[in-house]
């Protein structure tokens, strides 16, 4: 078993994963956990689905960070706004209001050109981290709700992709420090969120090898989310099996009423679900040599800040805090 990684000691944490595994919840929980340990945190939502706002129960996010929880600031990525900011900072091109037709043209080029859109995203993120490292911005930690497994490699690989295609110019010259920042394991960690189900596990395994082949970005941990509780030990399970037998059921029926059958059936469902997932988890553990953090399935009434807090607690425990 690998030791719990010192994720809170880094400055930039990415969370990716297959859709539906709870990537945004884990991202929000990590931010909350860090803030409670005295850090000033910036959360960046890359895919504008307002999931982060839901996790903190706040209004929709914009490109300008807003405080969503004490010491947690959150922003939604917007490539046009990022470009505007970039132009203002780097080229001193005066841009008043919207970029207008220029934006449309740039958007068009950005779509066609490898990595331009991605560099505007990753560039803004790296820039915030670098400004903080050099004392011009006050983020102790930047946490990113990154793109899903399918897109994250091209996103993080954007600085390299740009270097391949753009021969000269300021964009090219700025990719070097970004690449260095992403590759530094004392600063950056790419974490993968998964559930113990077939496709999320397969995508995690696939992503780990693609990251190692194609990127120079340090991997952090695999967060296994929604782990169902183990109901029984092996000897307990023997008792459970016998409870389902006719004679035992009769006793249970007398004691608990006629519907004891469905209670046993529900327990059986819980056991089978856990067993099915255990095989996927086994495969994940055998294949991926990264530290794993396990978060329990929450039998909660709703999703929101309360759930985020519960996940943050579980995450803290897994990180040995």
């Amino acid at each position: 078993m690998l030791r719990a990684p010192d994720l809170l000691g880094r400055r930039l944490l990415f969370f990716t994963g297959k859709g539906g595994v709870g990537k945004s919840t884990v991202t929000a929980a990590m931010a909350l956990l860090a803030s409670e340990r005295g850090k000033r945190v910036l959360v960046v939502e890359v895919d504008g689905k307002s999931s982060i706002a839901d996790r903190f129960e706040t209004a929709e996010l914009s490109f300008t960070p807003t405080e969503v929880y004490p010491n947690v600031f959150a922003m939604a990525m917007d490539t046009e706004a990022s470009l505007k900011e970039y132009l203002k900072l780097n080229l001193r091109v005066p841009i008043v209001g919207g970029l207008g037709p220029l934006a449309k043209a740039l958007d068009f080029v950005a779509t066609a050109a490898p990595g331009v859109k991605e560099i505007l995203t990753i560039g803004k993120i790296c820039w915030e981290v670098r400004e903080s490292l050099e004392g011009r911005a006050a983020w102790d930690l930047v946490v990113v709700d990154a793109s899903a497994t399918g897109h994250v490699v091209s996103q993080l690989g954007a600085p390299d992709a740009i270097r391949d295609v753009v021969a000269v110019g300021p964009v090219r010259s700025q990719t070097d420090w970004m690449s260095a920042l992403l590759a530094d394991p004392s600063i950056t960690a790419l974490n993968i969120v998964a559930t113990a189900e077939e496709l999320p596990v397969a995508e995690t395994i696939d992503l780990v090898s693609r990251v190692r082949e194609q990127l120079d970005v340090s991997l952090g941990a695999v967060v296994v989310n929604q782990v169902l509780p183990a109901l029984f030990t092996r000897s307990d399970e023997v008792v459970f099996e016998r409870l389902c037998g006719a004679d035992a059921r009769e006793v249970l029926g007398i004691a608990a009423g006629g519907d004891v059958g469905v209670v046993l059936e529900a327990a059986r469902l819980a056991v089978s679900l856990r067993t099915t997932r255990a095989t996927h988890l086994e495969r994940l553990r055998e294949t991926v040599d990264l530290p794993m953090l396990f978060l329990p399935y929450l039998f909660a009434r709703s999703h929101g800040l309360r759930e985020t807090r519960l996940v943050a607690d579980a995450l803290g425990a897994e990180l040995g805090l």
Partner: protein, 417 residues
Amino acid sequence: MTAADEDSIEGSQARSGAESLHKSLEPLLASKEMVVFCGSGGVGKTSIAAASALAAAATMPGKVLVLTIDPAKRLADSLGLQEIGNIETRVPQTAFTAAGLEPRGELWAAMLDTKQSWDALILRHASGPEAASRILENRLYHNVTARFAQSHDYIAMERLFEIHESGRYDLIVIDTPPTRNALDFLDAPARMAEFFGGRLLRWLTLPYRVGGKRGARWLNYASKPFYQVADRLLGNQFLEDIAEFFLSFQEMYEAFVTRARAVERLLHDKRTTFAVVTTLEDGPLHEAELFCAELEKRNLHLGCLVINKVLPSYLLSHSGVQAADKLSVNAESVAERLAATCGSPFDDTARTVRVLTTIGESFRNFTVVARRESELRSHLGRHGEVLIEVPAFEVDIADIDGLARLAEFLLPIERTV
């Protein structure tokens, strides 16, 4: 089926559902030629689409194709889909027999290979082999097709069109790509047309068309600031590469737009229907509702809503909750009675108490989730004519047998096992 299931209203509906028109996919699968399954990632779209195709082949004569995007490996294997790209493969009769089915039709399956499909499209539309290879070898080409947000969506719709046009199948069931937004593919044909041929492209490539590749640029008033900024940011070599790429694409513009319009017409055709898949979770449900509303707005046919991975309704039965509580509260006396009546392995009453308490607690835990789901379910707005619920399966759907089990919830099927 348990006692509780029978006395709960939800349960009895789910069971009789198979016979009722509004709880079955049968009318859709029997009358439409294309069924497009959509929904957000992780809801089980691929399995539902494959099970629908299987159900159609099992119960109706004719040829059915399931065009799938990114199936789990074991499912792909069970459908006979190796890494063979766009090739359509027939699912062998023996696979049906093993799952206790006697199919009346044929089931075919294919996976969507985006790159291969794009290449085929270029070869078809280009003016000649030379023009085609100029595009296929352009270093931006792969990038554009692989990264353009609507590229996967478009090519899926394009393949649907092509296969439908070939007339090889009576019914085509298609799974949509996992996009950031389930609505994206509805706009894909229109955006594709805009992307490859719009005014913007002409404007952007203007200096290169007028001045020649390395010649003096003639810049109009509007495009000047763009080139100034772009040049400074990216260097002009890069801009030239882009312009060259789009110039070669431009000769295909007419063909491309005509085709994109045809694809769009197909989505609106009355032979096409959409099936929205969701689970009872906030995110997917929200997306499903958005999608249903959007279909209506665009005058597209919403065939049905499939709610997948629904927890058993007995978790909501009052008598079940009561029984679970009694098991926990009276665990000690129950354990003693079990030891007295049944003997081993109940002789260790402490252990029996532990097991009984756990069973009771687990039931309560799952009840919380089932309530949350039913609460969300009750807020569900409009959803077309057909609403189908598919239960949470305790094991993965990884083979024909699993698909057949799932299919039984979609429409009545006769199975011998």
